[in-house]
């Protein structure tokens, strides 16, 4: 009664799990890969005031981006803002995440829920909140005046520090939650072992905690960096056109000037910059912590 299964049918049967990858793959191909390829191709077209774009294969858009001082400052602005926001967010998130892992029971639930709740509030509302705080004659300025630190209209609102502050705040919950899970994974006994071996809290932090949480630090940094460097809404509301940034320029060229080829070129530039920077971050941290050589035991 044994039924012989054809070899081909067997081959398919053994790989049935591949079917589960189909929905995700389709989604990514249709809504990410294809648009990205279109964008990539568009970057090599030329602009035409009447037909909008003319298919071509020219580097003139990229030449324009990289030869103009203005666009260079845009790239450095974006990188600076992204980098500082990441530094700020991870730096602030670490102690919070550490505290979260030591918290127990209801305190922990409340804290975690609190962090998640900030993600439920629309970005527009949180950013407008910041806007009011940072505004000339706003909360911060009043505070400065009360403390006698200065008077007159404060020009803080349209500056890079203000933007970094708001971006770091908006992306803080992601960093906290990622870091908390990686701090949790260290294992209390390793820290206790270090203590019995005579390590000071400072040495424990630098020699045990940081290296062992490096994967979490890197992934939270990547997340905050990519979110910050590609943020549009927050820069528009906080700094407006005052600080030239890549995402704002992309929007301007694609929706206002309607120069799609040039907008595409800037978009590709942003994409490349982000990718290079992210991989550089991973590479450096891997070198520092000798990652890949060891596994968690």
């Amino acid at each position: 009664m044994e039924r012989r299964i054809p070899v081909a049918a067997m081959w398919i049967r053994k790989r049935r799990w591949v079917l589960m990858l189909v929905p995700g793959t389709v989604l990514l191909v249709v809504f990410f890969l294809l648009p990205l390829l279109t964008l990539g191709r568009m970057a090599f077209y030329t602009y035409d005031p009447i037909r909008l774009y003319v298919p071509a294969l020219t580097l003139e858009n990229f030449v324009k981006v990289f030869s103009d001082q203005y666009y260079w400052s845009m790239i450095t602005n974006s990188l600076t803002v992204g980098f500082l926001a990441t530094l700020c967010a991870v730096f602030c998130a670490f102690p919070v995440a550490y505290y979260l892992t030591t918290a127990k029971g209801i305190e922990r639930t409340v804290l975690t829920a609190g962090f998640l709740a900030t993600l439920f509030i629309t970005l527009l509302v949180t950013t407008l909140g910041w806007y009011i705080i940072l505004l000339p004659f706003g909360v911060i300025q009043r505070l400065f005046e009360v403390l006698g630190l200065g008077s007159g209209p404060l020009r803080f609102i349209k500056t890079i520090p203000a933007l970094v502050l708001v971006l770091a705040h908006a992306h803080l919950p992601f960093a906290v939650l990622i870091l908390a899970s990686s701090i949790q994974a260290i294992g209390k006994d390793k820290l206790q072992a270090a203590r019995t071996l005579g390590a000071s809290p400072w040495s424990i932090f630098w020699r045990i905690t940081i290296p062992l949480t490096m994967p979490g630090i890197v992934s939270s940094a990547i997340l905050v960096f990519t979110l910050s460097i590609s943020a549009y809404l927050i820069p528009v509301l906080i700094t407006g056109q005052k600080i030239p940034l890549l995402p704002i320029a992309i929007w301007t060229y694609s929706s206002e000037v309607l120069n799609w080829p040039f907008a595409s070129a800037i978009a590709i530039t942003l994409f490349a910059v982000t990718t290079v920077f992210t991989y550089a971050m991973i590479l450096v941290s891997d070198l520092v912590t000798r990652r890949g050589k060891w596994k968690v035991v």
């Binding site: 072992a193 203590r195 019995t196 071996l197 005579g198 596994k295």
Partner: protein
């Protein structure tokens, strides 16, 4: 007087825990726990999980602080001293090696923390890795080592800083049976070669018996009985200790007579004579224990030697390789007897009629009152 006793202490007591108490919420984990360990001694705290043994270890290491009581190391009160400054080495249950450091770096960690010079560190690490017989793995990461090797690295790391006291927290529970036995023996030889004072915590009775000079059986945050392994095994003071250390035939019985240190006890329909430490009156309900290896099997019932042989028949046979256990029914009372399964003894078969003979010294009669648990 105070001074003198302190000086004496410094001479041979490495650890003295006095009246340690610890509560987690309403749960009392340690209740007036007192223990003293002299130099070079290996003491094991043995008990079921939740009896407070790991908490004791943590308090001695300084990882946790007691609610009451004091810890003295080499005569100095260290109760409020941080673990960094106690000079105590600890091997954790899951070894707690630093996964991002090589075996060498793990062992060197404590020495670096003590700001030792590099050449001295190199020398000491090499020496420690040789002690645990792992000279060739210095550059390997913990994930590249087997369980037994990781365990040795953990031991080397704990010993590298030359601590006054070595604490072992269930150090072998993560190893498989065979490796565990090998490591226990090796640990004992390492301990003997260095002569380090050791406090070990385990729930494995065999481990406790193999490793230690003295065993303290713990239950409910207290030491129930403490003594040499053979003392605890042969004369437990309570039903709990008796049941926790080794196998035993245990019965409820009633005293029927006493005569110069010996008692006769009725267990079901049979009468056994045994020994008891306390004074007991006839009619008192007691707890009776007989180790299976002390139950002698009499095969030929024709040559009956005395009245001490009880007649019964074999109910169950459990072959265990080196030994064979027989369950023998004597007038409704079940005795387990263990014999070596060598070729020299004839194996019994089911329902075979046999006799059992138990020396009075093998029958332990214990008071049922005032017991920890069981």
């Amino acid at each position: 007087m105070e001074r003198l006793s302190k000086g004496m202490e410094a001479l041979d007591a490495v650890l003295r825990a006095a009246g340690l108490t610890k509560k987690f919420g309403t749960l009392c984990v340690l209740d007036d726990f007192t223990l003293e360990i002299t130099r070079g001694e290996v003491v094991t705290l043995l008990g079921p999980s939740g009896c407070g043994k790991t908490t004791t270890l943590h308090i001695i290491a300084g990882i946790e602080s007691p609610d009451g009581g004091e810890v003295y190391l080499r005569g100095e009160n260290v109760t409020r001293l941080s673990p960094q400054r106690r000079r105590v080495g600890m091997v954790f249950q899951r070894w707690a090696l630093f996964p991002h450091m090589t075996a060498y770096e793990n062992v060197a960690f404590g020495l670096q923390m003590r700001r030792m010079k590099k050449p001295a560190i190199r020398q000491q690490v090499a020496k420690m890795l040789a002690v645990v017989s792992l000279p060739d793995v210095a550059e390997k990461y913990p994930s590249q080592l087997s369980g037994g090797m990781q365990q040795r690295v953990a031991v080397a790391r704990a010993l590298a800083t030359d601590p006054d006291l070595l604490l072992l927290d269930e150090p072998f529970s993560n190893l498989d049976e065979k490796l565990r036995r090998g490591m226990q023996i090796e640990m004992k030889s390492i301990q003997e070669s260095i002569g380090i004072t050791t406090l070990c915590v385990t729930h494995n009775q065999e481990e406790a018996l193999v490793l230690s000079d003295r065993v303290a059986v713990m239950f409910g945050g207290k030491i129930v009985q403490m003594g040499k392994p053979e003392e605890l095994y042969s004369s437990p003071n309570s039903r709990f200790v008796c049941g926790f250390l080794g196998d035993a035939n245990t019965f409820e019985g009633t005293i029927v007579g006493t005569q110069d240190g010996k008692v006769t006890v009725a267990v079901g329909a049979i009468v056994l004579s045994g020994v008891c430490s306390a004074e007991m009156e006839p009619g008192k309900g007691v707890f009776v224990s007989v180790r299976p290896e002390r139950v002698g099997i009499v095969r030929s019932l024709s040559e009956e030697r005395s009245g001490s042989v009880l007649h019964g028949h074999v109910k169950e046979i459990h072959y265990k390789g080196a030994t064979t256990a027989y369950v023998i029914d004597v007038q409704g009372v079940r005795f387990e007897a263990v014999e070596p399964s060598g070729a020299s003894v004839r194996r019994l078969c089911k329902e075979q009629k046999v006799g059992i003979e138990i020396e009075a010294s093998a029958v332990l009669v214990l008071d049922t009152a005032g017991e920890g648990g069981a």
